[in-house]
Amino acid sequence: MSRALRIPGSKGQKEVSQDGRRRVDDENGAMVEAPRMDGLSSGRIESKVISVEEAAALVGPGSTVMVGGFGLVGSPLTLIEALLSSENARGLTTISNNVGEPGKGLGRLLLESKISRAIGSYFTSNPDVMERHLDGELEVRLVPQGTLAEAIRAGGAGLGGFYTKTGVGTDLAEGREVREIDGELYLFEKPLRADIALIRAHRADTLGNLTYYKTARNFNPDMATAAEVVVAEVDEIVEAGTLDPEHVVTPHPYVDYVVRAEITLGTDAGPLLDQAGGG
């Protein structure tokens, strides 16, 4: 009896074909094969490390993509760069706190007209967002930052939604469900999930356990839980068993693939930080 036996009735969101290759829905709902993970079906757990190109190929036309980061800090700049040269990465919906910075990170994908919809909390720091939005090229959905983070967590945690006080009585609550609970008003918020999450971490072991670096952590651990396929871009890849089990922030079951970062925010990236502005 093969795995096929338990796929039909299962609630699996990720399907694995007989040869161990993970399948991902493309734009038309057709299944496309993700890069082969040799060894998975041979019994040995192979490393989850793949190339940047293989990772970029996982993003298809119309994909909903969660992208970690607060501005450029904690943003998977290598993966974003790779999407620039990917024909398939177009018509994307991004779920990300910002749309990068002007011409940088996701901001560059925006200039290349690869993003058609952005869900986030703070686009003000990138004037290109306003411009594209007024041009009618970019649909935006603005969510308070805490609600954004909580909705992503809820998506990863299998919840149907939650109630938050944030936003009650504001324009962002217009047309939304408000409920009184124990004498206080709350807004109902549904979970957010994505086809793929591109996150930035510090260290990964070959199983996919992750640690983060300072405030580059931000949305990354939340997004690691809430997508069909999760790719982590990291500074360093170490052998399984190297990370202290007490210090792992994202346990490996959440992570599908690991790529090594080629672009990092060096201190020479100082000018990036000139774009000060609220989260």
Binding site: R6, P8, G9, G39, G155, A157, G158
Partner: protein, 216 residues
Amino acid sequence: MNSVMHDIARRVAQHLEPGDVINLGIGLPTLVADHVPEGVKVFLHTENGMVGAGPTPEPEKVDPQLINAGKLPVTEDVGAAYFSSSESFAMIRGGHVSVAVLGVLQVDRLGRIANWAIPGKPILGVGGAMDLLVGAKTVIVATTHLTKKGEPKIVEECSFPLTGARPADLIVTEHATFSVDEEGLVLEEIAPDSTLEWVRSHTPVPFRNSAALEAV
């Protein structure tokens, strides 16, 4: 546990695949860990807050603060990680556990299970059973075909309280393996030392034979 239990556990373990994150219920399901096929590396998730639980330690190496959800001592496998209860169940409900192996009191003709309460008694324990049932990507029931009194555990309708609305995906006994689809049970395999007749006469619900079985 006796050899029948180990037999069932072995049959369940055949369905595990390399890389699976599995959660084993208390009792019989725990035995599955002993029968994972050679070369198949799986990761044990335990809902009290760990992935990568390793085998039972030697008595002198027991760490009393390192236990599984059955409150039995375990060890740290390579690549383990610890997390809080809310994170553990976020992982379960969010579909990040590949396979939950659950024991049952009963399972009905649609594959729905009862494994947490006995009618007529105050219900004083549920633990993680309901969360695992709704959250695991695949749910495998591991059970003896009959109760100790010789009554079928696969029944038309559960007389014990249901653990949830979600049906199991696979039911494995020492006599047979059934898969479950929208219409009910499909007999996938008969154990080498059992017969279709035995299974039919001890499974008082309608079931179909799988295409593979028909072809035999």
